[in-house]
Amino acid sequence: MKAVIGGTVLTPERTIEEGTVLIQDGKIISVGKGIKVPEEAEIIDAHGKYVTPGFVDGHSHLGMVPDGFDWEDSDVNDYYGPVTPHLRAIDGINLYDSGFEETLSGGVTTVYTGPGSSNSIGGIGAIVKTYGRTKEEMVIDDFASVKMALGPKRTPEGSKPKTPYPTTRMGTVATIRAALTRARDYVDRRLEPDKLDNEERMMMEILSRLIRREVPAHIHTSNMPDELFAVIRIIDEFNIRATMDHGFGSELIAEKLAEKNIPVIYGPLMMAKKSSGAKYISDKAPGILSSKGVKTSIMTDHPVIPGKYLRLSAAVAVRNGMAPAEALKAITRNPAEAIGIGERLGGLEQGKDGDLVLLSGLPMKIKSIVEMVIINGEIAYHL
């Protein structure tokens, strides 16, 4: 048992001065002020420090583009074809990538990591902690989502995909719609499993989970605001759970997203505005989204912005108008809920995983330092 005592605890919704967090067997058993600390508890003194939930990066490619390696070791984009739900991130993640340790040192305890945006339906993402006694223990969900990506697709010169890629946005949406329509038929048994070849049956089994709302889709939108409407149409049409990832331009339709209850995982911030759709990139977006009631998370898209800088990214959103309390939620509660693990992670409450961060000062200050990170009740990082 561990007792983190004396710190200013940000749950993140509540602020508890001189609060105590008790962790037993990897889980939080109580949080509050004046809690009796059992004698056997190992005391971690947090007087003068801030205690927050472990940070959650809702969209990352940690382990899939290992640090210090280049494209030959990058495993995010597979030009096998535009529809590849059966590619699994877990088969490509390098848990020995030093990026995990570095990301951990930034207070990030959990990341969603998954396939890239080359394919219309790209594959299965995973949720991974940045620390575990064994590497296997780090993976907490190897079937966390189905990745989709809008925008016209292109294949690298000379590559010969099994199925041709759509070349317009209409084509991409049609490709997704066709696959989901088939999956719905499969769920409804209008499409007989034994009439399909193995690969297609495998795809349909995976997409069925989306149709049955068992997992969310992470939908990459990064070019133009009109893409976002296409995403909303797909979500409505198939009644799937989904997050809008990147979401450049999403603040322009914030009311609509709030009304439809579609979470946005925005970012990365501090982007080089160097692509054709870049005029819609704005570090003001997270503040606008959250003020209009959208469940807003902030991502690093590691390695685009190193995962360690998730908290910095939230602070950049604060600099650009986001309320500090909302920014903290955007890297704890909101992403945990958006990626579907809100019951286990994202806040300091009884029953949640014992994942927390001790900071030398307010979390949205650049000069506050992460002094300790606890994961599953164990000290995973210490300055």
Binding site: G68, F69, M270, K274, S275, V316, V318, M364, I366, K367
Partner: protein
């Protein structure tokens, strides 16, 4: 009519012999700093602005501002001419767009001066940085469009990126050895040309004439370099031909900090916030500036705009401060001005210098402090909320 601007600051960090002045004033007359102190007379006609923390206008010593427009296509890297890997005679000033919106972004971050370099930053969708061996000459520009120096140095690049970019264009050389040997051969040729050992009619005359000021010590070479092995090659070459190298990016410079201090080689480090793409960037850390400071290297921190947006220069500095750097502001004022070769004009607050000032509502290198005024040549170019 004389034009006055008076600035009142709770705290003025002059980076001159006057140090930090509490409740001080600055008088700018016709764009130049006239007086600095606690008790100075302000003419009745002067416009006055006031603020908390007053510092010299910030300087970013390595950018692609205005030469590499944002929203450009990833497939056509601008800012670099791929027709000839050795083109020191190209001048970035000839391709500069003074209406690029990056200038406004810069002003909103308190930046008043930037070195613009040929070449193009590494963007996420690109496989390699589009940079050749000698892509052209740098310029030093102010954010009001005024040009401080049209030809402030020759940009060079060594290591993995020029190597791979040239490989993608199927233009040799394609090894580190090859790249260094090409640079050496041009330095040698320029030397012979200076000594009139090769004729005035030499067909590569424009190139050689661009290299001569380097050999005469009239301007430095700004060299894109990441790893220690490439830094060492640059040092060898610079000793052989007696030119002044400025190491740009210099990811592994902390690993040879003592040597750099001893040889008085300066460094433009950054950006700090950058993906660790490829082995050259494996040792990228925000601790480097603190280590360079400790060993006494003359260095600055840069954004490589648009690699990291220029308005976030001080975020890059603040991160380095969180990891050990003590005097971050000095690096992007005095140090940057010295490295850019314009310390006679800008870089600190003292009489005679240009009236370039940034005013903050709090600690300039903390992320939630805001720029309240950016002043260039004595005129208010940005007013923050």
């Amino acid at each position: 009519m004389v034009n006055y601007l008076a600035i009142e600051g709770e705290e003025i960090r002059t980076f001159s012999e006057k140090g930090v002045i509490r409740k001080g004033r600055i008088l700018i007359k016709d764009g130049k700093i006239a007086k600095v102190g606690r008790e100075i007379d302000i003419p009745a006609s002067a416009k006055t602005v006031a603020g908390e923390v007053v510092v010299p206008g910030l300087i970013d010593a390595h950018t692609h501002l205005g030469i590499c427009p944002i929203e450009s296509s990833d497939r056509q890297p601008p800012g670099v001419d791929a027709s000839d890997p050795v083109s020191p005679h190209l001048r970035v000033v000839d391709g500069l767009n003074p209406f690029d919106e990056g200038f406004k972004d810069a002003l909103s971050g308190g930046i008043t001066t930037a070195v613009v370099s040929a070449g193009s930053p590494l963007s996420w969708a690109m496989m390699v940085e589009a940079v050749t061996i000698m892509p052209g000459q740098n310029a030093v520009v102010k954010m009001n469009g005024r040009i401080l120096n049209e030809r402030s140095g020759v940009k060079m690049a060594v290591g993995e990126h020029p190597k791979r970019f040239l490989e993608s264009l199927k233009i040799p050389p394609t090894t580190r050895m090859g790249i260094i040997s090409v640079i050496r051969s041009y330095l040698e040729k320029a030397k012979l040309y200076t000594d009139k050992e090769i004729p005035e009619t030499e067909k590569e005359k424009p190139k050689l004439e661009a290299i001569i000021p380097l050999l005469k010590g009239e301007y430095p070479a700004h060299i894109h370099v990441h790893t220690v092995r490439d830094i060492l090659s640059v040092l060898r070459l610079s000793e052989e031909y007696m030119f002044n190298p400025v190491l740009v990016h210099a990811t592994e410079s902390h690993m040879v900090a003592e040597k750099l201090a001893e040889r008085k080689v300066s460094v433009v480090f950054g950006p700090v916030i950058f993906p660790r793409r490829g082995r050259e960037l494996m040792n990228l850390t925000a601790k480097t500036p603190g280590l360079l400071e400790e060993k006494g290297v003359l260095f600055t921190i840069s954004t490589d705009h648009p690699a990291s947006p220029i308005q976030y220069l001080l975020i890059n500095v603040g991160l380095a401060e969180a990891e050990g750097l003590r005097d971050g502001l000095r690096t992007v004022t005095v140090n940057a001005a010295k490295i850019a070769g314009v310390f006679d004009r800008v870089g600190n607050i003292e009489p005679g210098k240009d009236g370039d000032i940034a005013i903050f509502d709090g600690d300039p290198t903390e992320i939630d402090s805001k720029v309240t005024y950016t002043i260039v040549d004595g005129s208010i170019e940005y007013r923050g909320g």
